[in-house]
């Protein structure tokens, strides 16, 4: 049995919205307050804090100190962590390590991102610099374009169709409409992907083969995860959720250095193998999962990277509705990034919160039946940083 050394004792998340009007400090405080109240602790119980965001969107330089002061978490040590879209998953990994090492016993991980803090043009330009600025950006690469390159090669090799991708989006909408924290709370139907439908425009081309409906939306938001060592967790919390396994991997930033696109991204295969080994389980033991569906194609590739389906067979899960709430392996039953929105630095923490609520039986209308083990797959960049976290009751 895996050791029960470190647990999550509190979770919080702001609403994910478009154009949040307050400061990043207020935005972060929303998730912080909810997580602290959830854990029933005050600032003096906290031994250290880790702030997570993608700095290219923040006007504030070195935000951890500013944030720690605002949350009332000084003079305890504070840290800043960045791995783009997977920053807060990695924050949880670092918090886990600190607690295991005996450095700090109770750690707050606070992810935040106000995507609208800078103009859309500025943000595009800065995002572009997240690619290889020497050898990629000069050719007009852009975020959906990278996933489109994967989609094109993967679909040609594995018989995945545009309708399969549409069905990933339709599943997302099924749960987005019952998640009151999601930025996009509307159901999605086949009619939204019909080019005759001028209103929904889900069919609108972005980067072939990906359409508007295949891409997640930007959002402003924050998430907060509070972790503690075993004794502290048991003393403070009735329903601690244990960190059973953690795995991570990195990959070549430049697409010219990536292995076979037809097999999806390599990072999640490595990260999940490590996490399963640490937890002493296999993919078949997972009862509920959150995967990084920044694009519909990413969810299909994640099914395979996590071992829910053999390589090339991810399409079967969506065709058989196996990843719906009632299916064999429910995935993204909170709407995922596609419906919730993707406030980069807050995304991983939001996924972890969803799984914690599921394992506690507190997920409301999104609750799957009696899950014991849950998994979070959170990817930064275009598969550049892969993180897999396994949680259990």
């Amino acid at each position: 049995m895996p050791s029960k050394d470190v647990a999550i004792i509190g979770v919080g998340q702001s609403n994910f919205v478009r154009g949040y009007e307050g400061s990043i400090k207020e935005l972060a405080f929303e998730a912080f307050r909810e997580a602290m109240q959830n854990a029933k602790i005050t600032q003096k119980d906290v031994d250290a804090s880790i702030f997570c965001s993608a700095p290219e969107y923040d006007k504030q330089r070195s935000p951890a100190g500013v944030m720690a002061e605002y949350m009332g978490l000084i003079p305890q040590p504070t840290f800043y962590l960045e791995s783009v879209c997977s920053s807060s998953s990695m924050g949880v990994k670092v918090a886990y390590s600190m607690i295991k090492a005996g450095l700090h016993d109770l750690v707050v991980v606070l992810g935040f991102q106000k995507m609208s803090e800078i103009t859309s043009a500025e943000s595009q330009e800065r995002m572009g610099r997240g690619a290889d600025i020497q050898w990629e950006s000069p050719f007009g690469t852009m975020m959906p374009g990278y996933y489109a390159l994967y989609a094109q090669a993967y679909m040609a090799a594995n018989g995945l169709t545009l309708d399969d991708l549409m069905n990933v989006r339709i599943k997302s909408g099924t749960y987005g409409q019952i998640n009151e924290r999601a930025v996009y709370q509307r159901g999605v139907t086949e009619a939204d992907f019909d080019p005759a439908n001028e209103k929904a425009r889900m069919w609108g081309p972005v980067a072939s083969p990906l359409r508007v409906g295949d891409c997640c939306a930007n959002a402003d938001g924050s998430s907060c995860i509070i972790l503690a060592g075993a004794d502290r967790a048991k003393a403070l919390c009735d329903k601690p959720v244990w960190v059973m396994g953690i795995g991570a991997a990195s990959a070549s930033v430049n697409m010219v250095g990536r292995p076979d696109f037809a097999k999806g991204m390599q990072g999640p295969h490595i990260a999940s193998a490590e996490a399963y080994k640490m937890a002493g389980i296999t993919a078949a033991d997972i009862d509920v999962a959150e995967v990084h569906d920044c694009f519909t194609i990413a969810e299909i590739m994640a099914y395979e990277g996590l071992g829910f389906a053999p390589i090339g067979d991810g399409k079967q899960l969506i065709r058989e509705k196996a990843t719906y709430k009632e299916g064999r392996i429910p995935v993204n039953v909170d709407g995922g990034l596609l419906s919730k929105g993707h406030p980069v630095g807050a995304t991983g923490g939001s996924q972890i919160r969803t799984i914690v609520l599921q394992l506690r039986g507190e997920a409301g209308p999104m609750q799957v039946k009696d899950p014991e083990i849950g998994l979070v797959h959170n990817v930064g960049g275009v598969g550049l940083y892969s993180n897999v976290t396994i949680l259990g009751r």
Partner: protein
């Protein structure tokens, strides 16, 4: 067309590549010690760590590894070029490279299709970029 296209950050390790493009040559690097041929350019061989590297001209022939036509959401620097197609090309020397792909509306690109490298000057910046065309 007044296109303010993103230009490369040119430094010591990459300058010869961009210079040779002006002569219509797409250059790869070859290690004199272990004969590893690679792209993009570096100043130390990633295989054997030798510094004895030489530039070697590629034939310019290759096949499409993957591609995408960008129709919306391009960065400001590329908005005026939209729609445009970017592609990963496997050169016959074995290296995979990034480039723009030109094709008329009547010819859709496909994975595995033969392409050949051509060269196009960006009048704004003076940079020459490799542009692949369907053979």
């Amino acid at each position: 067309m007044d296109v303010n296209r993103t230009v490369p950050f040119v430094d010591w390790d990459s300058a010869p590549f961009w210079e040779k493009l002006k002569e219509g040559k797409f250059m790869l690097m070859e290690c004199s010690e272990c004969h590893h041929v690679f792209f993009p350019a570096r100043i130390i061989c990633p295989e054997c760590w030798s510094s004895a590297l030489v530039w070697r001209e590629a034939s310019g022939n290759g096949v499409i590894y993957s591609f995408t036509t960008v129709e919306a959401g391009a960065t400001a620097a590329f908005e005026l070029l939209t729609p445009y197609t970017i592609a990963l090309i496997t050169l016959e020397e074995g290296c995979r490279v990034f480039g723009m792909l030109r094709h008329g509306a009547e010819r859709t690109p496909a994975i595995g299709a033969q392409v050949r490298c051509d060269f196009e000057i960006d009048s704004n910046s003076g940079f020459v970029f490799p542009v692949f065309g369907l053979v």
